[in-house]
Amino acid sequence: MADIAAFFAHWAEPLRVWLGTALALAGGVLVTIGAVGVLRFPDFYTRLHAASVTDTMGATLLLLGMALLAGWSLVTFKLALIWMFLFLTSPTASHAAANAAHTAGLEPIVGRWRGDDKSEDGA
């Protein structure tokens, strides 16, 4: 029994830290990839994909990594709450934006994309 506990104390701690850091890093990379997509995709609807999908996964990975780093404490609970709220609100906001764009008559680009889109808010 004692050596199993010692084994865990010896290996579980570094593993937890390594895994947590790796997950956080993966989340950061994923979020950045999504942001590049938002910058480079041709129209609003494709950008919506790039933003909302990668955001949810990237946030999950980052928060999971942070929870592993924090260990078992109130911090973990707060991270879980953040994850839950992000999971509720982020897709809702994306839905609201897509709904507003669609009902306002913003057309997606269908077929091959050639050049810049014309629809501007005149800013």
């Binding site: 890093l25 942001a35 609003f44 955001d55 008559g105 808010d121």
Partner: protein, 97 residues
Amino acid sequence: MLIAAAVAVVVSMALMLARAIMGPTLYDRVLAVNSFGTKTVLLMGLLGFLTGRPDFLDIALLYALINFVATIAILKFFRYRSFQIPLSGRGVGGSDG
């Protein structure tokens, strides 16, 4: 290595900011600002770990809760042109783009 994750989040915030400034449609701006808010939540969490104090998680939690209020206000603004009528009603319609 956590700092690398923080840098990645900051870089993605900068890219999202570029989209928010460039537009071109207002919906792109809404999308960018909303996504920027999500990344702010993540960065605040990471900052809490980088500085070794967990008190910041409360702020990230607050953003996670209320960041979409602005998006809904914008939806109401463009679709209904009024903050009075409930959301289930009929909008002004697609004159806006």
